[in-house]
Symmetry: C2
Subunit: 578 residues, 2 copies
């Protein structure tokens, strides 16, 4: 992974590729790589859908190696949703394949002149491009099915659905999992719209004929990789909770904590929670012949996913994540897992961020387009997005636009990106992350739920403002670093709680690259990435005034704890004073 592939989509006669050394970006993977390149190379004032924007893919530093859970793929660009820098990442097979092909990053720049859609093939021979309009207007499932017939089952497929083609603000980029299903999404911030604006319908990554990247110190690497698996398995979250129930184990936890946003962030507890909890979901999956435990990529030991079947035992979708079950479920007053799974399937197929779409439907419910709890209505609304009707385009543009179009005041977004499944009034550390993350409303950017609710990495009272700024700061730094290794974020639980597992992660990197990193280097990396991202945002016009929650979180108390978000603006401005 010592080279960068650069593709000029504007070139006359079709895209032109060049390969350059990784150069100054050495030692960066995932988010670190995409954010540094975007911050360096993209005009912060450009229109996100213009040729001046760039779409940067980057695998993690250990992608393609035998280190468990290391195969996330990141994508970065200027976000059409937030107007700031964006990194989104996904599991599936593409990150590992890129790693085996030796690419530390793939940069798409420019945009083709015509209306043709392009297919990009990256394999051991390099990269090639072809006009391929055969999948125009198709969802990700049909697109991948067609592509597999041509390129076979050994490739990873990175595609956009109808939403990306329409360049909608909620459009995602799909990656295939081990079973070649387009269920792993770089979801947030409209990255699919940028891929659509560059007229790239599909990227086929064929790792055939490659070998895993060789460690500089194979013996040390082997030893660390073994300790790494042991560390992941030893922690209760990554070793037990996530494998057994997936991320949806959180439904009961957050509902119990009174921080489960219900009816478009009106209340903190949902009466129907137990009907859509991870425990219920896992049992249903098992009863119907699906899977309650499943890995999205080769070699992952956490196996947080699953396979959801319908009542007839037929595959519907991968196990819907907690945030998806929440956004389409409790947030909309819907307590039917079959409906939620169908909505998840549609999101994956059209290529949409499930968080953004669930929150958007909640806003539409708030506007009275359909009532809260209307499952059939939610299915109909989401169907409109796939069809590209005016209503569908509104919804596919996300919660912020939907709020504007329908004149809604209660719109739970930060930097125009929908807030996820943790109410910032009842999980105040999470509120600090939502407000201040350069990514906009994002739970993964500094998952204070861990310490506020799960008591991982200590405990900070979730209902009080005290200590939340420091908590979010430290988590945002650590997360930016973990995201820059390309590791799945779920490794953060054992890494935060088990000092020896933290050291093992460093050992893996040192063994693979012949480095001598120490713990402090990790924090330095995180700060470097955050600073680059915040610098871009500042130049793009997102200043500290955008590092705020919508006012209603400070004014309208949340039941059952009847608490408002209490971290003051001037305290939020201290998050990045390190």
């Amino acid at each position: 992974m010592d080279k960068i592939l650069r593709v000029d989509m504007s070139a006359k006669g079709g895209p032109k590729a060049s390969v350059e050394p990784v150069g100054k970006y050495v030692g960066l993977g995932g988010r670190g790589m995409t954010s540094l390149i975007v911050a360096d190379e993209v005009d912060p004032a450009c229109h996100p859908l213009s040729a001046a924007n760039k779409l940067v893919f980057a695998p993690g530093l250990l992608a393609g190696t035998s280190a468990s859970t290391s195969g996330r793929i990141s994508v970065g660009c200027k976000s059409p949703l937030t107007g700031g820098i964006k990194e989104a990442n996904a599991g599936g097979q593409a990150g590992m394949a890129l790693g085996r092909l030796g690419y530390a990053a793939v940069i798409f720049e420019g945009a083709p002149a015509g209306d043709d859609l392009w297919k990009v093939l990256i394999d051991k021979n390099g990269v090639s491009f072809s006009v391929d309009n055969s999948c125009r207007g198709l969802g990700n499932y049909d697109t991948v099915e067609k592509l597999v017939k041509v390129h076979g089952e050994k490739c990873a497929y990175v595609t956009i659905g109808q939403a990306g083609e329409m360049k909608l603000g909620a459009a995602s980029i799909a990656c295939t999992d081990r079973e070649l299903r387009p269920t792993r999404h770089m979801g947030r911030g409209g990255v699919g719209a940028v891929m659509g604006s560059k007229k790239i319908k599909a990227i086929v990554v064929d790792e055939s004929g490659t070998t895993p990247p060789q460690p500089r110190d194979p013996a040390r690497f082997k030893e660390a990789a073994k300790a790494w698996v042991e560390g992941l398995k030893r922690h209760a979250v990554s070793g037990q909770g996530l494998p057994a129930f997936g991320t949806n184990v959180l439904t009961n936890v957050l509902n119990e904590a009174g921080g489960y946003p219900t009816f478009n962030f009106k209340e903190g507890r949902f009466a129907g929670a137990s009907k859509i909890s991870g425990e219920t979901q896992a049992q249903l999956e098992i009863d119907r012949g699906g899977l309650a435990t499943h890995g999205c990529q080769r070699g992952c030991t956490i196996q947080c996913s699953g396979i959801f079947h319908d009542k007839e035992g037929k595959y519907v979708t991968k196990q819907p994540e907690y945030e998806t079950v929440w956004s389409h479920g409790g947030n909309c007053g819907i307590d039917d897992l079959d409906v939620i799974a169908q909505l998840d399937r549609m999101d994956d197929d059209f290529g949409l961020d499930t968080i953004e779409m669930g929150v958007t439907i909640g806003v539409a419910m708030e506007a009275g387009v359909i009532p809260f709890g209307d499952a059939a209505g939610a299915l109909r609304l989401l169907g409109e997005v796939g069809k590209g009707t005016p209503l569908g385009r509104i919804l596919g543009s996300g919660a912020g636009v939907t709020g504007k179009v329908f004149g809604v005041e209660r719109v739970p977004v930060v930097k125009n990106q929908a807030l996820p499944a943790y109410d910032p009034r009842a999980v105040q550390g999470q509120g600090v992350t939502y407000a201040t993350s350069p990514m906009g409303g994002d739970h993964t950017a500094g998952y204070a739920v861990a310490t506020n609710i799960l008591k991982v990495g200590g405990f900070v009272d979730p209902l009080k403002p005290e200590g939340q700024v420091e908590l979010s700061r430290n988590l945002q730094i650590a997360t930016a670093a973990v995201d820059s290794t390309g590791m799945c974020l779920f490794v953060a639980f054992p890494v935060l709680d088990q000092p020896d597992t933290f050291q093992t992660l460093i050992d893996l990197l040192n063994a693979q690259y012949g480095l001598s990193l120490v713990g402090d280097d990790v924090a330095a990396l995180g700060k470097k990435v955050l600073s680059a991202e915040r610098g871009f945002n500042s130049r793009a016009g997102l200043g500290v005034e955008q590092d705020r929650l919508p006012r209603f979180f400070e004014q309208q108390p949340l039941a059952p704890h009847n608490v408002v978000f209490g971290v003051k603006p001037e305290e939020l401005d201290r998050v990045f004073n390190w």
Copy 2:
């Protein structure tokens, strides 16, 4: 005019009013009054449609007196369109009536809990409120017709149409003219949505039983008022061009200059311009028994308006303004005055900003929703707004939202507000005003067309960046001052060109208020207003990075002069260095 009327729309049992002395706001009218109050009292971080926003009306300092052309009414709030401070103003009779009633400002704050619509009656006895749902869903024409039956022909009516009720970003507030037609609009920035969010469908201003505000020095006032009329009549623009042809006299001028934005700002000259010019329009009005010269309010000597009849000689609308004829005409490739007049009528009726709507339809044409030049399609699209269909709501939310929903890159907005009828590449001083005005894309905020094209107040080459920053700075200061007198902006032509007319304006203010203002006080007032507005915007998150044109104006040359906007960002940042 020494009192402020404050209305709490949130009060239990219905709106509650109180009257307070004008206090620290003494000496301010129009924009100066609204902007200072909004900057002082409105939470810059509030949602514009929330109860925390305020809607402030203010007549001019000479409203209700015999001074010609002094009766504009301003409205201010936090804008749902730009997210910053907003002032919009209109002619018609309401400003004069408020002046005679002695109100320097009327402040609506809070919002009622229920869904009822309210009617506000302001008369010599004070103010009263009534629930009135009889006009719900009606356009401004039908609304006013119903109200006139109740309140008679001596009142001024301030209303919103369907767009304001729907709280759309392009919603305006209508004022009736002398013939009780709702044709005078506080158009820009979604002020009608804020009125809708406060559930105020109509404000009836009844000046019966009042007398004009008495000057402190009647003899001096009478003399100045006479000199004022003479000054307005002496200048070629206010004395001849505007009375004869209205603002649409500019079509041929801008088209000739190559600065007439055509096909959504793709070209600078429109082949059909002569078919929709002011000269053609005036002749058509005369031929059909309308009026080519008409005043929107009592006692205006400029009389820039007219009355537009259809082929059967039946009233359609007031004479469409230049910016309206351009936005719905050349910008959309439509060269049919009857269609344009119909679109103008629909905008007035639904309560929509004509500039925003024409630019929005142009963006929809760019997206391929309908082709450029499709007159029937444009009528159909605008009709959707009145019906409140999803497509109509998209369009009624303005050009920025429409661009997002349809994935369009070329969206001519600044601070999310549509740019008016002067291409910033061919009228570069105007580009500086668009970029930097606290109001967002706005031509009136510093009308550099005067000096770039009309050679009023000197001449600065419109195609070159040199001198534009100074030009725009001086014009923005002067305009903020003129807007704060409540004078119609068209007095700026003689005021800028004729030193004695400038002095006459100061004489009028001094005679009315017993003051001893001098020329420098005017500039100081303008700076004070601009500073307050920029302070609000900064606190609302609109920093210097938002003081920019969309990038395409710097990158895509405009025919016929093949020129790009050449004023550099660092120069734009000097506009307010005074």
